[in-house]
Symmetry: C2
Subunit: 554 residues, 2 copies
């Protein structure tokens, strides 16, 4: 049989050269295990695209091998693609109690919760997937209940770290299993797959507890209402906010759909302790003195539709920002979001609020959930892998992570900087990267399950930058002569008032172009009109609108 039969194969369907849509695969013989299935938010250049998910082609073609989808933790870039994936391939999903809670919210929204198979695991679980046996270790991150994964295969142990930092004083007992990691490393690891998000940052990641101290200090000094915004999924930070509210005798109102949903999941499942009496409805806010209130809300990244942005525009009926209120951004802006955040800060200052915002090195209101260089080196040191694949990062992060690996003893040449779709095969303990499988971005639009194609996006780009011109041409089907003067309609191209002369000239170009034909050659006319009008507009306006000649032969 072929070489593949007894090779161990490892690859990414997403997560390499990007932050987002993480999806990794470990495959041996007829057994295939998937790690995570994330989404990625589209930037503005992808017009009208709401979410990007991995290309599932390879998995659809190998559906009989799939043993399960194992999820490391509940962040969007690790679970956001799951509903779309399960609609195509209904495989069992393995995740911890909190992570499952967040996945269930998604599946409910997509109305596929009932038919999905969800299996609750914890760090002591052992899964038997044929030739691949799986066990786990706990990691610390900016969301509860995170796992690293060990794949025990005939070629040895493959370790996938998930997202992690080493937080020695975590909140809510979210400790890393450092001893277990050390043991795994001692047993021998053939391949480490480790995240690279903060490979550019020197030192160790600060502990989540440091944020708690700063929150408490700000709460102590605040006079009016406190409005504090953070990631809903950062339950441990929410817990620290609750503690600060307790100490300063304030009650808490939740604002924003994901804050309400995630807090409910976290409380139900025992990851967050908020006494019932502390929680108030937003309608009660005006019955309670300002200095007794904390509003805990979404929107720390400046998302225009989230609660904090709406508050800054005073668009809630029951909740207003008054002069003297304190607004705290308990999260740093992710690169790309600074402008949206700044706009909100401007609005809040205009409402007279005291705003705590900006670099976390000054405010202390944020620490990262991803390990810095020393955390990454500690993981590499604990695992002592023979081979290494840095994942979960853009190229420069992977590049720098390789340097870190070599600094702590991974042999030069044993680190594979791969692309999505590149396969690393391990056979007889030797790893090689020589082949790849299909991978790519799939665009998802709106609530629908529709995928958007490249052609649609290319058209949108042209339409958005240059606009369009529809030219209606009615010809006689017997001789191809014009029946009536052509009519041109432009959108997104030129001012109607300035355009009159231009459009008249376009119609002249059409008349003379059509006049060259001796018969009703609709296809040829369409091509000729597009070419001649395009040339004319380029000369006159330096613009290239989409030209749509519509030829009706009667």
């Amino acid at each position: 049989m072929s070489v593949r039969e007894n090779a161990l194969s490892i690859f990414a369907l997403g997560g390499i050269n990007e932050i987002g849509k993480n999806m990794y695969v470990v495959e041996y013989g007829d057994d295939l295990v998937i790690i995570d299935c994330g989404g990625k938010f589209a930037d503005e250049s992808l017009l009208g695209v709401d979410l990007i998910i991995p290309d599932f082609t390879y998995l659809q073609e190998n559906r009989n091998k799939i043993r399960g989808l194992v999820v490391t933790h509940g962040h969007e870039d690790h679970i956001g693609g799951i509903p779309y994936f399960l609609k195509k391939l209904n495989v069992p999903v393995y995740a911890t109690r909190f992570t499952l809670g967040l996945i269930e919210l998604k599946l409910k929204e997509h109305k596929i919760l009932r038919e999905s198979t969800l299996v609750q695991i914890d760090s002591n679980s052992e899964l038997d997937f044929g030739e691949i046996k799986v066990n786990f270790f706990k990691t610390s991150h900016s969301i509860p209940d995170c796992l690293g994964i060990v794949f025990n295969t005939p070629e040895g142990k493959v370790v996938h770290t998930g997202d992690f930092k080493f937080d020695l004083t975590p909140v809510n007992d979210q400790h890393s299993d450092i001893h277990k990691m050390a043991e795994i490393g001692n047993e021998g690891v053939v391949m480490l797959i480790s995240e690279s998000t903060n490979a550019e940052r020197p030192g160790f990641t600060p502990s989540e507890q440091e944020v708690g101290g700063h929150i408490e200090k700000a709460f102590m000094g605040a006079k009016g209402k406190i409005i504090i915004s953070t990631f809903a999924s950062n339950v441990n930070r929410v817990q620290q906010i609750v503690h600060a509210a307790l100490k300063t005798n304030r009650r808490i109102a939740l604002l924003g759909r994901s804050m309400v949903n995630v807090v409910a999941v976290a409380r139900e499942r025992g990851y967050l302790d908020i006494p019932d009496w502390m929680l108030i409805d937003t309608k009660e806010i005006n019955n309670i003195p300002n200095e007794r209130i904390v509003i805990l809300c979404t929107g720390s990244q400046g998302e225009p539709l989230a609660a904090l942005s709406r508050l800054s525009r005073n668009s809630y009926r029951d909740v207003k920002v008054y002069p003297g209120d304190t607004v705290i951004f308990a999260a740093s802006p992710i690169p790309g979001n600074e402008k949206d955040v700044s706009k909100i800060v401007d609005n809040l200052f205009q409402l007279g609020a005291h705003v705590i915002y900006g670099s976390s090195t000054i405010t202390g209101m944020h620490v990262s959930g991803h390990g810095y260089q020393e955390d990454l080196k500690l993981m590499l040191t604990l695992m002592k892998p023979k081979y290494f694949i840095p994942i979960h990062g853009e190229y420069r992060m992977l590049h720098l992570h390789r340097q870190l690996a070599e600094a702590v003893g991974v042999e030069k040449g044993n680190t594979f900087i791969i692309k999505n779709g590149d396969v690393v095969d391990i056979k007889n303990s030797e790893a090689r990267q020589t082949r790849n499988i299909p991978s790519g971005d799939v665009y998802v639009d709106g609530l629908g399950d529709d995928e958007i194609g490249d052609i649609v996006l290319r058209d949108r780009k042209q339409l958005s930058e240059e606009g369009m011109l529809v030219i209606v041409i009615t010809i006689n089907k017997s001789d191809g002569k014009l029946v009536s003067p052509p009519d041109s309609i432009s959108r997104g191209f030129v001012y109607a008032k300035n355009a009159e002369e231009l459009i008249n000239n376009v119609n002249q170009v059409v008349v003379s172009t059509i006049g060259n034909f001796k018969e009703a050659n609709v296809h040829g006319m369409r091509k000729a009109v597009r070419k001649e009008v395009g040339k004319y507009l380029d000369q006159q306006t330096k613009k290239k609108p989409m030209i749509l000649p519509i030829i009706i032969a009667i």
Copy 2:
């Protein structure tokens, strides 16, 4: 006559609640002086817009009063609008020798240099504009030859700072006239108009010389070619790069149009000292050992068409990046540009280069040209103004600048936080803000002088996010019955392959909508088709493409 006759009026046509398109006006009776005329780069949400300039309506309506346009310095956000302005109002332009050089480049490009009136001034010039007498003081900034402006009016002195920092050890003798400023302050200033860019940052701005030290150190350690990118207009930083190249025995090649142009202007006019023998053509690069070469290029902000981006994609024939080359970003990314810069860093690492990038607090490769909080307080202290208008900043910066002013003695209530178009009138030494004049954003597209309207932009936005559907309907003009089945063409909306059924259904909706009409009511049919098809598509796809029914009655 009216109150205005002997009031001193001050307002902004751009530059407030934004960074960009700076334009300010000082007016007394029949004399009006303009300060700067900047452009602002459009962000991605303004589809296909290349530049934003101020609305000149008020100036066009008061053209007879205009005595001149005085320019503080040569940055884009202070001179970028000048060609568009002069095409509408050909008024004399007053600027220093270096600033004029940059303005001339622009006027040449727009082919209006010959008919423009350019007057060279320096910090000792005195201009007599009727009731307004103007003199100047030198400031330090990130471009040579900057001016602050004093307007001596019947109501007293109005001081406009231009952009500034206090650099006590500047490069190339670009000192601030601190003694002159002190003197002006002692004579009494009724109104200070001061820039606010760095009002959020505590402390003093570091000196430009600090960057020189870091550049020199990096040059000393570099093995292969050095590629260094900075703002072309930061001539003093370029001078420091030249010094470092001299010390390390390297010759310099210039790459990028604006680098070539600005260096030429700066050398011709005596602001930059590069011995002729040091400059090499890019074609000679391959004849000289790598370790003897510096490539000085544009593109430090990640601009996709600039030299550094092209180098990172290896798209020059004569200039390549080889493993072992050093690439230095000698400029911090402006907020919003981080992603483009990161992409270039990724590519450069892939080419094997050593890259010095990231926060200037770590690399030391950038200092700001705008004064921090202590610089701003020093200016306020020197000028001791009665009234104060913070300009050149977004709202939070203006807000914090007011706090700084109050901290150094400006009376509470005497700071005016205005909007573009708000007029501050001073009469009998009392300032009030009660009225405003027309102001706004004017969009400029491509090379043309065309302005783009809001409707065009709104159409582009819909086209870009939802796409469009053209429906061709041919009816009998006597009874309004369909002559042939309707035909629908979509662009940017749905996949052709997925769309067949949807489009068939749309055509059905059209058939039944048209069937309701008893006569050829083209206007009514168009409206009805748009409504019914819109409703159907919203139900089926949750999308709202632009629908263009084209009805041909034959």
